[in-house]
């Protein structure tokens, strides 16, 4: 059994996934994880791996590792509808990223002005079970958000 440390992709406060007002994430259909109420402006890679998906509109991305681990970071809820407004992609889909590599810049005020909730789910959709999880405040690319046992 290997333990994989997943870093916080965002600065902010850790929130239980169950309390996210979106049943798909709250019921863990996309995977187990947590949400972050973000305080910063940049989302970084939570693990080293392939950036297999980065939505053109920047609202979500996914990284897979060689161990079958898959992580999805969704910045805000229903933010696909903003079609990129408030988001700016820094990284490129398909590239290899190191944990902590900046992926997307976002502007909370713009997203909230459009009526979207900023809570951002970070979920594990592939291999592994979450064995430990942070609480309170986390810093993007610096603090461990949760530990996966694969």
């Amino acid at each position: 059994m290997a333990k994989i440390e997943v870093l916080a992709p965002l600065d902010g406060t850790v929130v239980d996934l169950e309390s996210v007002p979106d049943e798909v994430f709250a019921q863990k259909m996309a995977g187990d994880g947590v949400a972050i109420d973000p305080s910063g402006r940049v989302a970084v890679a939570p693990v080293t791996g392939d950036l297999v998906k980065l939505f053109p509109g920047g609202h979500a991305f996914g990284i897979s590792t060689g161990d079958g681990v898959e992580l999805i970071v969704h910045i805000g809820l229903d933010t696909v509808e903003l079609k990129g407004e408030g988001f700016e992609n820094i990284a490129t889909e398909g590239q290899v990223v190191q944990a902590g590599t900046p992926i997307v810049n976002f502007d909370r005020a713009t997203v909230e002005r459009r009526g979207k909730v900023m809570l951002s789910p970070v979920v594990s959709s592939g291999a592994g079970t979450i064995v430990r999880c942070a609480s309170g405040t986390v810093r993007a690319g610096l603090d461990v958000l949760f530990v996966l046992e694969v």
Binding site: M29, G62, E70, I72, V80, S125, G126
Partner: protein, 89 residues
């Protein structure tokens, strides 16, 4: 008896297969024992992996192909095709 089934559907979800609808689709796909793939153009992925499904980048109106192989193939293809044709959110 084993079945192998294939069906082409037009994606109905208004924002395409983005994270949320992909999660709902994959959750349903995982409920079947059959091996299931979804493809768009030449790219074929495991329909039980959200991230793989997202890499298709399928948009509303795109033609996607479901392939299902296993004992519950008939049930699976009907259920999954109707999800893809409908509005997954």
């Amino acid at each position: 008896m084993e079945y192998m089934m294939e069906r082409t559907v037009i994606l109905g979800s208004k924002s395409g297969l983005h994270a949320r609808p992909a999660a709902v689709f994959v959750q349903n796909a995982k409920g079947f024992q059959s091996q299931i793939t979804l493809s768009k153009n030449e790219k074929m992925v495991n329909a039980k992996s959200i991230l793989s499904v997202l890499t298709l980048g399928a948009e509303q109106g795109d033609q996607v192909v479901l392939k299902v192989d296993g004992e519950d193939a008939e049930l699976a293809i009907d259920k999954l095709a109707s999800l893809l044709e409908g509005d997954l959110g």
